[in-house]
């Protein structure tokens, strides 16, 4: 099983604009989070060691806090940060549904210019995690998606039909 989650996409925008969308508070608040989610509150101290602390409001009006601590900032190419669940005060909290989820995860985002487009890649892995936490992380997506030889697809197809 893999311990790393990777997602990448070519965005139809210049590298500098993609970088800004990730690193300026007002811009980040506009798009970060899945469909139907809003970021009503966020503070950003954009420097190595600084923190982005945000509240996510879910479609059902429940709220969830999260926190990024920046480690490496290499404009406009690379952003490395530690990500965790949080509370309103900025403390680190456990995953609400999985007590053995890593408290902290390391996220490396790279921005590669491709003419007027940008290849964005997010690599995500457990940080300072115990063995059990690493197992939980890897069984959650990478393992199921890539290592289970189609079982996951079959089961999700069945779920969709039932």
């Amino acid at each position: 099983m893999q311990n790393e989650f990777v997602i990448s996409r070519v965005l139809n925008a210049k590298q500098n604009n993609v970088w800004k969308a990730w690193t300026e508070r007002e811009k980040l608040m506009q798009w970060f989070g899945p469909k139907g989610v809003t970021i009503p509150v966020a503070t950003m101290d954009f420097r190595p060691g600084g923190v982005f602390h945000y509240c996510m409001r879910m479609p059902d009006d429940s709220e969830m806090w999260g926190k990024w601590t920046y480690r490496e900032i290499e404009p406009p190419n690379k952003l490395v940060l530690i990500s965790s669940f949080s509370d309103a005060q900025g403390g680190i909290t456990r995953h609400p549904l999985a007590a053995d989820w890593p408290l902290e995860t390391l996220s490396t985002t790279t921005f590669v210019a491709q003419g007027d487009k940008t290849l964005l890649t997010i690599n995500w892995s457990p940080w300072n995690a115990t063995e059990a936490e690493i197992r939980k992380f890897s069984e959650s997506h990478a393992g199921m998606e890539q290592g289970w030889g189609g079982t996951f697809e079959q089961l999700t197809a069945w779920l969709a039909a039932n």
Partner: protein, 124 residues
């Protein structure tokens, strides 16, 4: 939605034979004998795996005396599936929104060059 339920689901899913059993049941109900067929293991060994799946709530077994068919149970599987796909979904949907946002931003410089009186946004 307790984390204990999720943990027992994942523990049950961790074994390749059990995953294969679930994949078979996704095609329809099956008896223990039918489930044992594709594997080079004995029916008692299959029964053992079925017990684990049953305890995790992933399957149930019918009560008809002769043919006690096993079937999948949707709720815990759905919960596990949601948990598994939540981060990819999170990022896929965030990136969809980012694309839409960037489209608007990309259009802005044109507006500015054509209208000089327009104030520069984001003075910060």
């Amino acid at each position: 939605m307790s984390s204990d339920q999720l943990s027992s689901t994942f523990a049950a899913l961790a074994d390749p034979t059990r995953r294969a059993i679930l994949a078979r049941l996704a095609l329809g109900e099956a008896s223990v004998a039918e489930l044992a067929q594709p594997f080079s293991i004995s029916p008692p060994a299959v029964t053992k795996h079925l017990k684990v799946l049953q305890r995790a709530g992933l399957i149930t077994q019918g009560r008809q005396a002769q043919w006690r068919p096993c079937k999948l149970e949707a709720a815990p599987l759905q919960e596990a599936s949601d948990f598994i796909s939540q981060y990819r979904q999170f990022w896929e949907q965030s990136l969809d929104r980012l694309e839409a946002y960037l489209k608007v931003v990309q259009a802005e410089p044109d507006k500015k060059s054509s209208g000089k009186t327009r104030e520069k946004k984001n003075a910060k």
